[in-house]
Amino acid sequence: MEAALRLAHLYPKLMNLYGDRGNILSLRRRCQQRGIALTVDELELGEPLDPAAYDLVFIGGAQDREQRRVAADLLGTKAEALHQAVEQGVVLLAVCGGYQLLGRYYRPAAGEELAGVGIFDAWTVHPGPTARRFIGNVVVRWQGGTLVGFENHGGRTYLGPSARPFATVIAGFGNNGDDGSEGVVQGENAFGTYLHGSLLPKNPRFADHLIAQALRRRYGEAELAPLDDALEQRAHVEAVRLAKKRSIFGRR
């Protein structure tokens, strides 16, 4: 199949604190090895998003100071286009801070509440500077098996009635440390999650799920040739083992 996909990476300079760039490296390589030409456009502050131009959209995490600036820019220059894109089936992956900002609102530990884009029927509340931060290895189960990553967030996220959890926590905290949910899926094509790690390199099945979804939408079909994922699987299994071991012996 002679296929080409286009990905918008939102705020790679601002939302780059936790190695989330690895997700782009994973998508790029997994496409390349199957002869799919993946073009990545980096969109920063003030740069508009063309909702018709992209098959995939990615946004990573950052600290509160950067999130404040990104929140304003999202609402000012990208919110409408994001809504249109997701309605048209563009595949969206938002990690940590990006996940929070695409919900209804984010109430930080200090300062004013940030209005969110509202892609996800979810909201996030930071219970204050003295509250426990959710830090550690995390293992969850989604429809395609286990996912492993690292979470590091103070905010607690809660889902509204039109959203469903992306995954169930096996070890770690997930959305709020309370209800066992991790992340969000809105419709079939918009995903929010707290998993850094980076997420996609160690979870190649989910990476391929995103690529396949984008291909199906554009070309009506998606045949992904299997790749040699021995190293990916080994890193996955090792990380799952470590996360489970540490959760048995108590966190840190």
């Binding site: 300079k13 601002l14 780059n16 604190l17 936790y18 190695g19 989330d20 760039r21 690895g22 490296l25 994973s26 390589r29 600290q63 509160d64 100071r65 950067e66 600036r69 931060r133 830090i135 550690g136 290895n137 690292f150 590091n152 103070g154 850094h196 790690g197 980076s198 390199p201 160690k202 190293l231 990916e232 080994r234 890193a235 090792e238 990380a239 470590l242 840190r252």
Partner: protein, 469 residues
């Protein structure tokens, strides 16, 4: 009251010394932290009282990267200038480590021999700086740089900056603060300083890189939030910066490297301009980040009034902190160990290695203990891609060896990464696969370094670090 306090100090020092000896005897470690903890329980405030007996006061050195190297350089310079430094050379840089090191220098009555020659030189953990600055009344506080490091421990980069600012603001106006003018996050601390400030910087434009690294964190103006504009980027977010929004800009430097000569297998050559005059330095280290470490150490010396000649002698006598950047010969291979624990640091190490000649044999050791940072996501922000076409051997080890190997795979560096989780087996394998006469680069995170260091000390001998120096 004074006599009681004195007795209590002596009792605490004696107890701590016994604990240190026991700790070493029982094989618990070098006795670099436990005695400090014990002493503080017996006599709270012991560090403050012992530090007050240092005839020349003390210097604190903090920052994300380069603390240990900067402190060691400063120590050597101080020795050359005739001081008898008290220095936490083991790298134990929390309050208990500093206390332990003061106890070790004291006699059983809690007195320091030759107190009039004593100068404290302490590297201090970033988050410990406020406590150390309040307890030790430093003469000089030097900052190296501010990068993301151990986000699982510190939370966010901004939280470290938020700790430093009030600590600097509460220093007395007699304390000199030494700041890196090229790192906007560090240079900005000058606003909070009440006393004299010394800025250091690199001004040689030939050190600049074409492209800003993926790991550059602090690219946004502290005052107005606009993205800094750079006429030269040296590494990470370090360079010649100006804010196009509010005009905040890199301050003029007092201590400046006007020329930096980097050539393979040679010491770094520096031409320095300082308030004590212009002079050249030969620095037996590699990488531009070490130029900044040297500048910080020279600035400390300038703040103390050390003459240029002693600075040169001190730097020339330098050997790298064991395991941090050190060469030794093991089984006919030259082994160079370089600590790297965050994206900015590892990018600098890779850049320096890339500048050396010939194919590279590389062993990366990635651990995820608390001292390394639990989160290994950071390796995805390191530009391993610059090794493309250069690696002859790629071996990943440590508890997160598979993560490291996966990162290397996605960097498309021709050689296929091999995995050996066990440190000792990995070192054996790397030595066997490195052709005799070639160099093996061993690049560990912090806890992996401790293990590597023990093994190499057992197997190898330490030749003179640089024949030239």
């Amino acid at each position: 009251m004074g006599a009681v306090l004195g007795l209590r100090t002596a009792a605490a020092v004696t107890t701590a010394k016994v604990v240190a000896a026991l700790s070493r005897r029982l094989g618990f470690g070098g006795g670099t932290a436990l005695p400090g903890l014990v002493a503080d329980a017996v006599a709270p405030g012991l560090a403050t009282r012992l530090a007050a007996r240092l005839g020349h006061g003390c210097v604190l050195i903090t920052g994300t990267n380069g603390k240990t190297t900067t402190a060691r350089l400063a120590r050597n310079i101080a020795q050359a200038a005739g001081y008898r430094p008290v220095h936490n050379h083991s790298g134990s840089n929390l309050m208990r480590g500093i206390t332990a090191c003061l106890i070790e220098a004291a006699d059983a009555r809690g007195q320091l021999p030759q107190p009039e020659q004593r100068l404290g030189i302490f590297e201090v953990d970033e988050a410990t700086l406020p406590e150390a600055a309040a307890a030790l009344s430093p003469r000089v506080v030097a900052f190296t740089n501010l990068f993301r490091d151990q986000l699982d421990r510190y939370g966010e980069v901004d939280s470290v900056a938020a700790l430093w600012r009030p600590a600097v603001a509460s220093l007395p106006s007699t304390t000199t603060v030494v700041l890196n003018a090229d790192d906007p996050g560090v240079a900005g601390l000058a606003d909070a300083c009440r006393g004299p400030v010394l800025f250091y910087a690199v001004s040689d434009p030939s050190c600049a890189v074409d492209q800003i690294e993926h790991a550059a964190d602090a690219r946004w103006c502290l005052s107005c939030g606009r993205e800094y504009s750079y006429s030269a980027v040296f590494y990470g977010h370090v360079g010649h910066w100006v804010c196009p929004g509010c005009g905040r800009a890199r301050p003029a430097a007092d201590i400046e490297a006007t020329r930096v000569e980097q050539s393979p297998d040679r010491p770094l050559g520096l031409a320095l301009s300082t308030p004590s005059g212009q002079f050249d330095l030969a620095l037996p280290l590699m990488g531009l980040y070490n130029v900044y470490n040297a500048l910080a150490a020279v600035s400390v010396a300038v703040a103390l009034g050390v003459p240029a000649e002693a600075i040169r002698t001190g730097v020339a006598s330098f050997t790298a902190a064991f395991g941090r950047q050190e060469r030794m010969t093991v089984r006919g291979r030259e082994v160079q160990t370089i600590l790297a624990k965050n994206p900015a640091g590892l990018n600098q190490v890779l850049r320096a290695i890339s500048a050396e000649e010939g194919p590279k044999n590389l062993l990366f050791l990635l651990n995820d203990d608390i001292a390394d940072g639990r989160d290994v996501s950071w390796i995805w922000d390191v530009d391993f891609e610059m090794l493309a076409g250069q690696a002859a051997l790629l071996l990943a080890s440590g508890r997160r060896a598979a993560d490291m190997a996966l990162r290397l795979k996605y960097a498309d560096i021709d050689a296929t990464p091999a995995i050996e989780e066990d440190t000792e087996a990995a070192l054996e394998m790397a030595l066997a696969l490195t052709p005799e006469g070639e160099r093996l680069y061993v690049i560990p995170t912090y806890t992996a370094m401790l293990r590597v260091r023990k093994l190499l000390a057992r197997w190898g001998r330490r030749p003179p670090f640089w024949k030239e120096a």
